[in-house]
Symmetry: C2
Subunit: 209 residues, 2 copies
Amino acid sequence: MAEKNISKHTLQRLPYYLHYLQALQSENAARISAPTMAADLHLNEVKVRKDLAAVSHVAGKPKTGFEVETLIADIEDFLGYNNIRDVVLVGAGHLGRALLSYKGFEAIGIRFVAAFDNDPQLINTEINGIPVLSTNELSKFCRRKKIHLGVITVPATGAQAVCDRLIEGGALAIWNFAPIRLTVSEDILVQNENMASSLAVLSEHLNNR
Amino acid sequence: MAEKNISKHTLQRLPYYLHYLQALQSENAARISAPTMAADLHLNEVKVRKDLAAVSHVAGKPKTGFEVETLIADIEDFLGYNNIRDVVLVGAGHLGRALLSYKGFEAIGIRFVAAFDNDPQLINTEINGIPVLSTNELSKFCRRKKIHLGVITVPATGAQAVCDRLIEGGALAIWNFAPIRLTVSEDILVQNENMASSLAVLSEHLNNR
DNA sequence: TAGATTGTTAATCGATTAACAATC
DNA sequence: TAGATTGTTAATCGATTAACAATC
């Protein structure tokens, strides 16, 4: 449990390892070596070994590598896929609704327990079985339900206010889809998800061809 | 035009700068200095200066900084927001439909000209005015319309096949929302967008509190 | 035993940040 | 002129990759 510090990059690779291992398992492979995994995923072999060492509670065996099943269990445990976390989403627009409707979140350990919006037309409706409440109730709701993670899918102009209310309600981490950098205190983690940022990398590549 | 190599991190920050500058402009600010910008965006001041130097075609003036309007124009130019790029999307599920319905893409220089899916129920319908075609026609369509960027929103199992068809059709860059690492040749850029990866960073933070 | 694979220490690489002279 | 800000060179930091002894 008391793992050492794990780099952000390693964390982001873990879901790809997991997916790969699950595919292996469905083909009934029992063991896997880091070099094979590295080749299949187009990653450096030492990188894979270090990543695995960081999350695996058993050492690999020279010559044969790691047990697939154990590795899967360790990664899922590490990522918290086994104890579902309750989260709220603020902003029931196109993107917000898409996230609420996405079936894959339970598999990665999160469940939306409520959505929040300002639009009176939406308040007290449901999206995919999830109740939409007034943003006025956001802090209170989070505090009462002990919500620690909030997803922000409102336009940029409203994002900071929403963020402040989430934190006021006890949130410790924010998943921010608004194209703006939020101001938060040291101990709060903001993970930004910005379409324009990703696209920037793609566009530059295309412009250089 | 023949800019020097720009780091991926710099590229990803550019949209945040742009958004910030546009907000400034709407408040009628004429000039801005790197230190002020850095403070407002919670970034290191040298980082901001280097980023601006990389995209600005005019040097900043000591004491007064940069002209807001010029900076906006330079960043928009650099990111290609002024000449719209035609793209296709494959996989008209929840996420795919959300992206097709999102109004903000034209502002960041891309336009969906067609979506592709295997579901006969969807083929030949429209989503937000965008025609949905059969995946069988993907390569042909891309080649005919000279599409260089494809967005993949199909499940993991189908993603590699879709990727291959896009490249066969002439795509040079792939925006991949499937939770799998795609195999492509050296000259193709894949930008991965993986919910589980982002969430991993958030979960680990929450587990350590 | 021989050899593939492990875990770890050392070298490299790229990005960030600190230090500082040049300039308006 | 004095001082804020610029652009750039050097130092630091963290992540990646190379090298290698240990092990089954």
